[in-house]
């Protein structure tokens, strides 16, 4: 287990309790850099160790799918396979096996494990705003293709799809009229 110690970001010296949770900036005892160090109870909490599954003692007792010699404690909420204490991954109230966890993480299907999202609405808006003929068409395509795709977690910007669509159509029509006038005049 890591010792619960903090280092000064400037000189890497170990910081002691005198600088913790002070209302004002406190100097680092080693280099004198002004620091604010706010610690919380988790800082002193020992790291929890994982539990290994119990061995199957009685014949016929349900065992783990991945470790047949270990006792099953929970079925996977996604695939229903029996899991021992080691294989049981509890996430947001769900119990998942490592395989479902990995596939769910890859497909971005598990809420709380999603770590990247494409911003289709902003891309569509940006394309529609660029003053070129093909970008307007691109904006229309993106707005229609990703109309129901999930947007940003923090700023969904659903309105941007409609605006992008309107601007894209407007831009394409304007270019169409422009080209028509140029060709008919010549």
């Amino acid at each position: 287990m890591n010792p619960p110690l903090l280092q000064c970001p400037r000189c890497r010296a170990w910081l002691l309790g005198a600088v913790f949770n002070q209302p004002q900036l406190s100097p680092c005892p080693a280099c004198g850099a002004s620091l604010v160090v706010e610690v919380f109870p988790a800082f002193f909490r020992p790291m929890e160790s994982g539990t290994s599954g119990e061995a199957v003692m009685v014949e016929g007792e349900s065992s783990c799918f991945y470790h047949p010699q270990k006792k099953a404690v929970q079925p996977c909420d996604a695939c229903g396979r029996f899991l021992c204490a080691l294989c049981d991954c509890a996430i947001k109230g769900q119990h998942l096996c490592p395989a479902c966890l990995e596939s769910g993480s890859k497909k971005q299907a598990i809420q709380g494990l999603e770590d990247v999202r494409p911003l289709h609405s902003r891309q569509a808006l940006m394309l529609s705003c660029l003053p070129f003929f093909i970008t307007g068409l691109g904006g229309i395509y993106m707005a229609l293709r990703y109309r129901n795709a999930p947007g940003s977690l923090v700023r969904p910007m659903r309105w941007a799809m409609n605006v992008a669509l309107a601007l894209g159509v407007l831009q394409t029509l304007s270019f169409g009229v422009l080209f028509f006038l140029i060709f008919t005049r010549s």
């Binding site: 890591n2 010792p3 619960p4 110690l5 903090l6 000064c8 970001p9 400037r10 002691l16 309790g17 913790f20 949770n21 900036l25 850099a33 002004s34 620091l35 604010v36 160090v37 706010e38 610690v39 919380f40 109870p41 988790a42 800082f43 002193f44 790291m47 709380g112 999603e114 770590d115 990247v116 999202r117 494409p118 911003l119 902003r122 891309q123 940006m126 940003s152 977690l153 923090v154 700023r155 969904p156 910007m157 659903r158 309105w159």
Partner: protein, 221 residues
């Protein structure tokens, strides 16, 4: 219409830089102008969720998320930096330089003098904004498994505002840590946990080389 999101934004926006700040400034003024801003890197913001702090990095095409659950946050370490003072010094120098040029040129040609005053005013406004934003800092968040830099909290004033919003949520998730308990727990960490008193050493008396060893019961108390 405002869309419902379970997150609330914390003050501050920063950039996880691809190239150093001085290189961007150099490119901005002497090479590629406004396009240098494309090299700023990912924009970073912090958002408060129901049970976690969400760090959002955006490159314009995608958003990248990192979650720090309130129950897991161990510490926030902030280091006051001198970046703000250095930038203030540089901007003051540039403003003064352009003002001096404006005065020198303006004596002979008023229009040129006005142009240089305008350039000086741009740098003066930047100086004012930087000065009003207050001292700069570098912020780190520590959990049991990582130390993450928070590039969005680079001003002490923003940091205090953000901590005032963040602290109650962490306390709700972990409980309060009284100041006297910190000292006691740190003493325990530095000195190690208290060990039980060692047993008194028993002396072994050998009377005959072939006899089994006899232990001395120790002084009678």
């Amino acid at each position: 219409m405002a869309e419902a999101t379970p997150y609330r934004r914390l003050p501050g926006t920063g950039y996880r830089r691809m190239v150093p700040g001085w290189a961007i400034l150099l490119l901005f003024f002497f090479a590629i102008g406004i396009f240098a801003l494309l090299l700023r890197g990912r924009r970073v913001q912090l958002w408060l969720g129901a049970d976690h702090l969400l760090l959002v990095e955006s490159d314009g095409r995608q958003e990248f998320y990192k979650r720090f659950y309130y129950r897991d946050i161990q510490a926030v370490v902030v280091h006051k930096t001198s970046e703000g003072k250095i930038v203030n010094g540089i901007l003051t120098g540039i403003t003064c330089l352009f003002l001096a040029i404006a005065v020198a040129v303006g004596m002979e040609e008023v229009a040129a003098g006005i142009v240089f005053v305008c350039i000086a005013a741009i740098f003066g406004i930047a100086l004012l904004v930087n000065w009003l934003s207050g001292p700069t800092c570098q912020t780190f968040l520590r959990t049991a498994v990582q130390i993450e830099e928070l590039p969005s909290l680079t001003r002490l004033r923003q940091l205090h505002k953000a901590l005032d919003q963040l602290r109650p949520l962490i306390v709700a998730g972990q409980g309060e840590l009284p100041p006297d308990e910190i000292a006691a727990r740190m003493r325990e960490v530095v000195e190690g946990p208290r060990q039980p008193a060692p047993e008194p050493i028993k002396t072994i008396i050998l009377e005959e080389p072939d006899a089994p060893p006899r232990t001395d019961p120790g002084p009678a108390s």
